[in-house]
C-alpha cells in the first residue's frame, strides 16, 4: 500500500479525534521539554562542578613523596625469600621532595606526543605575617605562562594582572581569603616567614579566587624563581610536574609508565578525583531516569487514546479489511498515527526544551564561590536533542504497537455480522 494512502487515512482518523490527539501530543511535548531542560541544566551543573576541580587538576602529576621504602634489607637476602619476616617501626629514609633530574625528565616529556603541555610547580610552606600573628599557608611557585595555558589560571585571578607575577620580581598573587585576613591591597608589600625561618617581603600584584574557600584561605601563587629564592634552593629545584594529556582517558596507563621510567610518584586524574566522576554519573543517571519516566507516562497516554480510537473505529477498520486492506495495512495506519503524535509532540518538545534551557541560561546566578559564573549553567549538548527525539519516536512506537496489533487482528466478519 502506498505511503500517501496510509498517511491520508491516518490523518483523517487523527482529525476525527483531534482533541484527544492534541492531549496525547501535548503529553509528549511536555515530557520531551522536561527531558531536554532537565538534562541541559543537570549536565551544565555537572560540567561546572567538575570544571571547578578537573580543569585545575593536571591529568598526571609527578612528585616525590616521603614514604618508607617498600623493599627492606631483609628482602634482599635470598635465604629468606621463602620465609615471612616482620619488621616493626619502619621509618621513611631521609629523602627530599625535589624531583631528581628535572631537566632530563622535562625534555623527555616534551618529546612525548601524547602530552599536551607541561607545567612545573614548587610547593612551599610559609607563614603570612599579619602584625603579631602568623597565618599558616602555602605558596605555589608556578611557570605563569604554562599554568595559564593549561589551567586557565587567569580566569581565577579576580584582581590585578597575572603577567605581573612574571615581570615583577618578588611578587605574589594572594588568595582572596588570605588577602582579606591580611587587609592587603594590590601594590602593598607583605611579609612571609619561610619554613627555614627567614623573613621575605613580597609585593602583592593580584588576588585569586578559586571558589573553594578552604583553598583561598591558604593558597597564594608566586613565580618559580621567586619561590626558589624563598626556599634558598638551586634553579633546578622542582617539586611537581603537572602534565596535561591530549586524551585524558589514557592518564592511568601513562602515569604507570612514567612511574617506572622516571622513578617518581605519578598520580593520574581518575585516581585522584574518582568521587567527582561518580557524582556526575549519578546526577546524569537521575536526569535520564526522570526524563524517560516522563516519556513512558506520555506513552501510556498515547496507548490509551489509540485503544479508544480503535474501539471507536471498529466499523471503519472492519470495512477497510473487507474491501481489501490487509491486517498489515491497518497496523501500518495505526503505527503511523502513533508515530505522528510522537513526531509532532517530540518536535515541539525539542523546541520548547531549547527555549526552556535558553531561559534558564538567562537567570542570574551570582555566588561568591564561583567568580566566573554569572547565570545558571546550561549544557547545549546536541546529543540530548538527538536522544530526546529518538526516544519520543521509540516510546510512541511501542505505545502504538499493541493497539495497532489489536486493530490489525480485528475480524471483519464479527463486526459486520454483529450489526
Amino acid at each position: 500500500m502506498s505511503l500517501s494512502l496510509t498517511v491520508s487515512i491516518a490523518k483523517s482518523l487523527l482529525m476525527a479525534r483531534f482533541k484527544q490527539t492534541m492531549v496525547a501530543a501535548v503529553g509528549v511535548t511536555f515530557s520531551i521539554t522536561m527531558f531536554i531542560g532537565l538534562l541541559s541544566f543537570m549536565s551544565g551543573l555537572n560540567d561546572l562542578l567538575d570544571g571547578l576541580i578537573l580543569n585545575r587538576t593536571p591529568h598526571i602529576r609527578l612528585y616525590n613523596e616521603v614514604q618508607p621504602s617498600k623493599i627492606q634489607p631483609i628482602d634482599r637476602f635470598k635465604e629468606f625469600s621463602h620465609s615471612h619476616n616482620f619488621v616493626n617501626s619502619v621509618k621513611p629514609k631521609s629523602s627530599k621532595v625535589e624531583i631528581y633530574n628535572y631537566g632530563a625528565i622535562y625534555q623527555a616529556l616534551k618529546k612525548d606526543t601524547r602530552v599536551l603541555g607541561i607545567s612545573p610547580k614548587i610547593a612551599c610552606q610559609v607563614f603570612y605575617n599579619v602584625g603579631a600573628s602568623d597565618l599558616s599557608g602555602n605558596i605555589n611557585g608556578i611557570d605563569v605562562e604554562a599554568e595559564n595555558k593549561l589551567f586557565s589560571f587567569s580566569e581565577y585571578v579576580v584582581a590585578g594582572n597575572l603577567i605581573d607575577l612574571k615581570n615583577t620580581s618578588n611578587s605574589i598573587i594572594l588568595g582572596k581569603g588570605v588577602a582579606e585576613k591580611m587587609l592587603a591591597n594590590i601594590g602593598d608589600v607583605i611579609q612571609v616567614t619561610t619554613s627555614k625561618g627567614e623573613l621575605v617581603q613580597l609585593k602583592v600584584v593580584g588576588f585569586f579566587q578559586s571558589g573553594l574557600k578552604d583553598l583561598d584561605n591558604v593558597q597564594s601563587y608566586a613565580s618559580i624563581e621567586t619561590t626558589q629564592k624563598l626556599l634558598g634552593v638551586s634553579k633546578s629545584y622542582i617539586t611537581d610536574i603537572q602534565i596535561k594529556l591530549n586524551d585524558m582517558t589514557l592518564a592511568p596507563a601513562i602515569a604507570k609508565e612514567y612511574r617506572e621510567i622516571f622513578e617518581v610518584q605519578a598520580l593520574d586524574i581518575q585516581t585522584a578525583n574518582s568521587q567527582f566522576e561518580t557524582g556526575s554519573f549519578v546526577r546524569t543517571l537521575i536526569s535520564y531516569t526522570v526524563g524517560i519516566t516522563l516519556l513512558i507516562v506520555a506513552g501510556f497516554g498515547i496507548y490509551n487514546i489509540l485503544n479508544m480510537m480503535i474501539y471507536d473505529k471498529m466499523d471503519s477498520i472492519a470495512i477497510l479489511k473487507a474491501t481489501g486492506f490487509s491486517g498489515k495495512d491497518v497496523n501500518r495506519i495505526f503505527i503511523t498515527i502513533a508515530l505522528s503524535i510522537g513526531f509532532i509532540g517530540g518536535f515541539f518538545g525539542l523546541v520548547f526544551g531549547f527555549t526552556m534551557s535558553a531561559l534558564i541560561d538567562q537567570i542570574p546566578f551570582n555566588t561568591e564561590a564561583l567568580p566566573t559564573i554569572k547565570t545558571y549553567p546550561i549544557n547545549y549538548n546536541p546529543n540530548f536533542y538527538i536522544i530526546g527525539g529518538i526516544f519520543s519516536l521509540i516510546t510512541t512506537y511501542f505505545a502504538g504497537y499493541f493497539p495497532s496489533r489489536k486493530a490489525s487482528k480485528i475480524d471483519p466478519v464479527i463486526i459486520i455480522r454483529g450489526k
Binding site: 500500500m1 490487509s326 491486517g327 450489526k419
Partner: protein, 226 residues
C-alpha cells in the same frame, strides 16, 4: 461454455461456541460469469456464513474455495485481502461508509489500495460509477449528510470501483424502504444485464429473489434448491 468464476467444493463449517454445531454441510456449487444469483433461506440456515466464506473473510472452514481458477486454501491473510480488493465487491446491510471521508474518497479508497491506476484516474473512475448510480452530485458531501438509499448506492459504487469479478451482497436492501429497495435492485439488474456483472446476493426478500436469474435456497446448512 460459460466461464466459471467461483467454485465451492464440499465446504463444511462448524461453530464451536457454545458447543460444536455443523452450520454448513457439504456445500457444493459454482457461479458462472454474468450470473445474478440470490441465496434465500430462513434466519440461521447458514446463508450469511456461507457468503463470508465465499468472500474469503472467514477462513475457518473445511473444503475448497476456488476463485477465478485459483484455490484459496492455505493463502495468507495478506493475499486474501488482495483477492478481496481486486476481485470481490461487497455490499452490506449497513452501508459502512467512513464518516471521516467524503463520498468520493470513500468510493476511491479500495481503488487507491489496489494501486492499478493513478490517484487521478481512480478519481475519474469513481465519478463515473457515481454518475452511473445517479449520485454524482453528492460526491463531495460527507456520508452522514446523505439519505439511507443514497448511502447504499455509494456503497455499491465503492464495491464497483475495481471492476470486481463478482459483487457479493449481504441483505443489501434489508435496511431500506420499498422504494429504495427497488432502486437498488434495478441497479443490480442493470449491472448484470448491461455490464455482464456477476452478483451473489443473500436476501430475506422473496420478491427480490424471484426477480434474479437463479435462486439458491438453503435449509439447515444444506442447499435444497439451486
Amino acid at each position: 461454455m460459460k466461464n466459471k468464476i467461483l467454485e465451492a467444493k464440499k465446504i463444511v463449517k462448524y461453530f464451536h461456541d457454545p458447543m460444536t454445531i455443523k452450520v454448513l454441510n457439504d456445500i457444493e456449487f459454482s457461479i458462472n460469469q454474468g450470473e445474478f444469483i440470490s441465496i434465500i433461506g430462513r434466519s440461521g440456515c447458514g446463508k450469511s456464513t456461507l457468503l463470508y466464506i465465499l468472500s474469503t473473510m472467514d477462513t475457518d472452514y473445511e473444503g475448497e474455495l476456488i476463485i477465478d481458477g485459483v484455490s484459496m486454501s492455505g493463502k495468507k491473510e495478506g493475499d486474501l485481502a488482495k483477492v478481496r480488493n481486486e476481485k470481490i465487491g461487497f455490499v452490506f446491510q449497513f452501508h459502512y461508509l467512513l464518516n471521516e471521508f467524503n463520498v468520493l474518497k470513500n468510493v476511491m479508497l479500495p481503488g487507491l489500495k489496489l494501486g492499478k491506476f493513478s490517484a487521478k484516474e481512480v478519481e475519474h473512475r469513481a465519478y463515473e460509477k457515481l454518475r452511473m448510480l445517479g449520485i454524482e452530485n453528492e460526491a463531495l458531501k460527507l456520508p452522514n449528510q446523505l439519505s439511507g438509499g443514497q448511502k447504499q448506492r455509494v456503497a455499491i459504487a465503492r464495491s464497483l470501483i475495481n471492476d470486481p469479478l463478482i459483487i457479493m451482497g449481504d441483505e443489501p436492501t434489508g435496511n431500506l424502504d420499498k422504494k429504495n429497495s427497488e432502486i437498488v435492485f434495478d441497479i443490480f439488474q442493470q449491472l448484470a444485464i448491461e455490464f455482464n456483472q456477476s452478483l451473489l446476493i443473500v436476501t430475506h426478500d422473496n420478491e427480490f429473489a424471484a426477480k434474479t436469474n437463479r435462486i439458491i435456497e438453503m435449509e439447515d446448512g444444506k442447499i435444497i434448491r439451486m
